[in-house]
Structure formats: structure tokens, C-alpha cells
Amino acid sequence: MITKKELRRIAKLARLSITKDEEERFTKELSSILNYVEKLKEADVSGVEPTSHPFGVENVMRSDKNKKFAKSKKLLELAPETKDGYLKVKSIFEIN
């Protein structure tokens, strides 16, 4: 179970705005899903190693050389705001 306060905290961490109605609904739905995954607590995992990749592939190395991406102009064209070939963002620090 999670509370509405916890839901608001998670939404903020995940950078998602949610409306009041959604807050109600998501709290209920996430609680029921979390309740369902409680099942995992029943399994005995003592001494079991975690699996993060199906076949345990190790790091793959390549030579440390930079390569220019030929289509960088295309990438910039996708951005809503650019300036001098850079992406433009809103101010990061609050201005009082």
C-alpha cells in the first residue's frame, strides 16, 4: 500500500505532473500492483546471485576514438529550441 503523499513524492521523482483525479486513481492502482508483487517476498533467495542479463555478457570494449555522427544537423532539427547549434533549456536555477 502507498499513500497519496508517497504517490506525490514518486511522481515528483519521476518528473511527472498528475492531476487531483489521477492522484486518487494512481494511488489505488499502484497499491494493488504493489500488493500483487508482494508475492516475491515468499521466495527463498538466500545465497542466490542476481541476474541482470540473460547470458551474463561482460563489458564490450571498443577503441577510445571519437567518431563524428554524420547526421547531427538532423538531430538538432528535431529540438523545439536551439541556439548556435546547441539545445536551449529553461533556466536551471530559481531566480528570486
Partner: protein, 495 residues
């Protein structure tokens, strides 16, 4: 001769014998899409110019007397979470509504190199999250076999396009069953390859340790042809596997058993049927049709053995707790700064933080936000060990189950889904009941093994009339043994 019913091999023959041209074939499909897409909504985007120019290119090659590859001139469609250069790629999401793919996914490049004609992009659940294609921000796809029902998901558009003969084959992606379940619901063949067999470069990531691209087609042969065309290591995907490794694996197998699988081979084949997959919750008609198919293989000479996968009950919660955190990390990149934008221009947004909140809040649909939040929660301080790490350990237990089972058997047979195709709207308001649709498919993604969804028949007709709904058999194999799965799948149709 109905052109839209032809297989890849038949098209190839028709083209080289000049029974029809690639342009004629392409136009036939484009016309059919125009006629049918309104009711089925399998396509989000039709790229007529791209398709016709590729078809023309192939016709010119044939006229000039060149030999053409087997897939040349074959019309196809690509799930809209796989990039096709200069064509919109939305992932079924508002947040990518105006995104134009800046490059080709590796699989698309490989298909283009073979001369494949790309007709368009197919509908999906937003970011491939869902089991019915109802989560698409642009509207649901309908099952061509019964328009009141879902085609399954998330590759519902890809499966419906093949079933309605709007494309010869399509590509889908499968994270927890998203190729196999819609293939089962639409009565077509779908292959989820071994994790790493196909490059994910240019696939919009959902859960990176589970995602895999694969083909959907009318026949097993066609699936095999497409799989062979798209597989292989790619330097742009460090989890893709050396082709030579796959070949070594195969040649070892060849040395120990006889080469191409023929009828005689089935007599040495041991098929495992997990008892945990036939318990409460399975539709009795699905169970009946699956058991008939297993019996048919037994009559062909296979040895059927009941096996146990004791951690099956943990698979679905384990999948949820692994896929959602991976999704929350992967989807953090959607910030409407690199691409996308806030549509509501009237809002006064001062800080970057508020910009993120609004862009992501209005851009993502309910299911995507649910999964991002669940993932964020499971990864947050104090919860990581209880959820994510524990699920990864259970993933090991599930993997051990499969490895143990495959010491005794060559293949595992199971249902694809416990359900028949359900009505549009039936499960969409209850996330958990939707997730249950994938209860037999998620384990295979967790362990990374390959699996085929093979149409094996229909359930009894419903009381309100109409045809019976299709049922798919899931054939699971050892890593990189796609060929064995496919050869055994072919035997069903020919016996």
C-alpha cells in the same frame, strides 16, 4: 491469384518469372491498406512514396537482368517503435508525435539492403507497454478476425496487418510477450528470437535486458527467412551476439544430431510440457486446443514429458519489478528538449523542473506513467533491495528452472496466453487483469530464450455465432536454437 495471400517464396518466383511486377504488388497492398485500415487501424503511417520508389528500384533491377535477393520487392511493415529514416516514429505516444527518425534501425537497414519494400509503420501500445494495443495514444487496433476484439499487444498493429493481408510480413518487438501474444490472438506466426540474436540499435528502448525484435508472418517459412535476414552481431548493440558464436553452437548441434530436421527427427525429440502452465486461470477452450496440438506431435512420434518449472508463479511479479525500473530509466530521456515540445503554449513555465513535469505529464499516457512510477518506486532509496534486487535473484531461480528442464527435453510446449482475444474495453480499466494475459510469455524474456507463437487451431465458436477465435502454441527452445523451433513448427502445418 490473390497477390496479398502470397508467401515470400511465391512472390520471389512471381517476380523473376515476371507474372507481376514489384510495383504492381506494392500498389495492390497500398490499395488494400487504404480500403481496410479505417476499420482495423493497423497502420499509424503509410509511406507510399518510399514504398513505390523501392518497388520501382527492384523492377528496374529485374528488367536489367540482375539476380534479386529472396526478400527483394516483398512488402512489409515495421512496428512504430523501430526507426525508419525520415519517417515519423511515434512509439504510439503523444510525446513523440512529431518525431522524425534521423536514422535507420539496424534491422531496417538490413531489410532495405535485401530490397524489402516498407509500406508503413504499425500501431502499438504506447512504448510497447500493454497487451491489447488499446494503450496507443492514436486509438486502438481492431482484431481483423473479429472487429469487436483486441488484436493483442503490444505489437497488435503488426499482427493485425499480417492477419488482414495488409503486409506480407512485419517486424514487432517482444519484451514480455509482445510478438507472441498478438500473433496468437490474430492467428499468425510470430518469433521472439534469443536475447542478443537481433540488434536492438534503433529500437526505442522499453526494458533493455528483455527487449528483442522479431518477425511476424503468415507462415513459419516466412518468419525464418526474415529472421535470417535481420539477425547477427552489430557493433551498435553491445548485447548482440557474434554470428560465429551462433554458428558454432549450430555446428556443434549438427555434429551430435542429424542436419536438417525431417520427419524422422521428431522421433528422437523430447517435448516438455510444464504442469504449472495448466492450472486455474487458463481458458478451458485454450487448454483443449493446446492439448490437441501436443497430441498431434505425439502422434507424429515425439516423446511428450511432463516437466516442472517450480518458480512459474513468481514470473509475472518478477517481470513487473524488473521491466518497470528499466522502463523508468529508459524513459527518463523524454524531456521535450531534444525532441517533442509542450503543446499548450499558454502555460507560463519558469524553471526546467516545471518544464519536465508538464512535458512528461501531458506527453505520456496512463499506463506509461503507471509503469514509470512503479519503476521509480522500486528503485528508490530503501526499496531497491526489497524489490529490484530481489526480483533479479528470482530471475536467477526462473533461469535455473529452464536450464534444468532443458537438460531433459529438447523443446518446451506451452500456451501463448491463457485467454482468447478479449473484447475492446474489457480489461483496459484493470491493469492487473491485463498483465495476466502475458503470464505464459514473460518467463521466456526473463531467461532470454527463443520462442515461437504458432497458430494451431480455433476455439469452439462463440454462442453468438461467428468463427471460433484463434489459439497459439508456444514453442520454446534453447538459446540460439531458433532453427529447431522453426523446423518443428513447420511440421505442424505439413502433417
Amino acid at each position: 491469384m490473390e497477390l496479398t495471400n502470397l508467401t515470400i517464396a511465391q512472390i520471389h518466383q512471381g517476380l523473376i518469372k515476371k507474372d507481376f511486377s514489384a510495383s504492381e504488388l506494392c500498389k495492390t497492398f497500398l490499395d488494400k491498406i487504404k480500403e481496410k485500415n479505417k476499420e482495423i487501424f493497423a497502420f499509424l503511417q503509410v509511406c507510399e512514396d518510399l514504398a513505390l520508389s523501392k518497388a520501382k528500384e527492384i523492377d528496374d533491377m529485374i528488367l536489367a537482368g540482375y539476380e534479386i535477393p529472396l526478400l527483394a520487392g516483398v512488402p512489409s511493415a515495421i512496428k512504430d517503435n523501430i526507426l525508419v529514416e525520415n519517417i515519423p516514429c511515434t512509439a504510439g505516444s503523444k510525446i513523440l508525435e512529431d518525431y522524425i527518425a534521423p536514422y535507420d534501425a539496424r534491422v531496417v537497414k538490413k531489410l532495405k539492403d535485401q530490397g524489402v519494400v516498407i509500406l508503413g509503420k504499425t500501431n502499438l501500445d504506447e512504448f510497447a507497454m500493454g497487451s491489447s494495443t488499446e494503450n496507443s495514444a492514436f486509438g486502438p487496433t481492431r482484431n481483423p478476425l473479429d472487429l469487436t476484439r483486441v488484436p493483442g499487444g503490444s505489437s497488435g498493429g503488426s499482427a493485425a496487418a499480417v492477419a488482414a493481408r495488409l503486409s506480407v510480413f512485419t517486424l514487432g518487438s517482444d519484451t514480455g510477450g509482445s510478438i507472441r501474444q498478438p500473433s496468437s490472438f490474430c492467428g499468425v506466426v510470430g518469433l521472439k528470437p534469443t536475447y542478443g540474436a537481433v540488434s536492438r540499435y534503433g529500437l526505442i528502448a522499453f526494458a533493455s535486458s528483455l527487449d528483442q525484435i522479431g518477425p511476424i508472418a503468415k507462415t513459419v517459412e516466412d518468419c525464418q527467412i526474415v529472421f535470417n535476414a535481420i539477425k547477427g552481431k552489430d557493433e551498435m548493440d553491445s548485447t548482440s551476439v557474434e554470428v560465429s558464436k551462433i554458428e558454432n553452437y549450430r555446428s556443434k548441434r549438427r555434429a551430435s544430431s542429424s542436419p536438417p530436421l525431417r520427419r524422422s527427427v521428431i522421433e528422437n525429440l523430447c517435448i516438455g510440457v510444464p504442469k504449472e502452465y495448466f492450472v486455474k486461470g487458463i481458458n478451458p477452450e485454450v487448454e483443449r486446443v493446446i492439448k490437441l496440438a501436443i497430441k498431434k506431435y505425439e502422434e507424429m512420434g515425439a516423446y511428450i514429458k511432463e516437466i516442472s518449472l517450480p518458480h512459474t508463479e513468481y514470473a509475472l511479479p518478477c517481470y513487473a519489478v524488473i521491466s518497470c525500473p528499466e522502463a523508468s530509466a529508459n524513459l527518463a530521456r523524454y524531456d521535450a528538449i531534444k525532441y517533442g515540445e509542450i503543446k499548450n503554449k499558454k502555460l507560463k513555465i519558469k524553471s526546467l523542473f516545471d518544464y519536465y513535469l508538464i512535458a512528461r505529464g501531458e506527453g505520456f499516457g496512463a499506463e506509461v506513467r503507471r509503469r514509470i512510477m512503479l519503476g521509480t518506486y522500486a528503485l528508490s532509496a530503501g526499496y531497491y533491495e526489497a524489490y529490484y534486487l530481489r526480483a533479479q535473484k528470482i530471475r536467477t531461480l526462473i533461469k535455473n528452472d529452464f536450464e534444468r528442464a532443458f537438460k531433459e527435453v529438447d523443446l518446451i510446449f506451452a500456451p501463448v496466453s491463457p485467454f482468447l482475444p478479449f473484447k475492446i474495453g474489457e480489461r483496459i480499466n484493470d491493469p492487473l487483469s491485463m498483465y495476466l494475459s502475458d503470464i505464459y510469455t514473460v518467463s521466456v524474456n526473463l531467461v532470454g530464450f527463443p520462442a515461437l507463437s504458432l497458430p494451431i487451431g480455433k476455439a469452439a465458436p462463440l454462442q453468438n455465432g461467428g468463427d471460433g477465435l484463434p489459439v497459439g502454441l508456444q514453442i520454446i527452445g534453447k538459446p540460439f536454437e531458433e532453427d529447431k523451433i522453426l523446423e518443428i513448427g513447420k511440421l505442424y502445418a505439413s502433417n
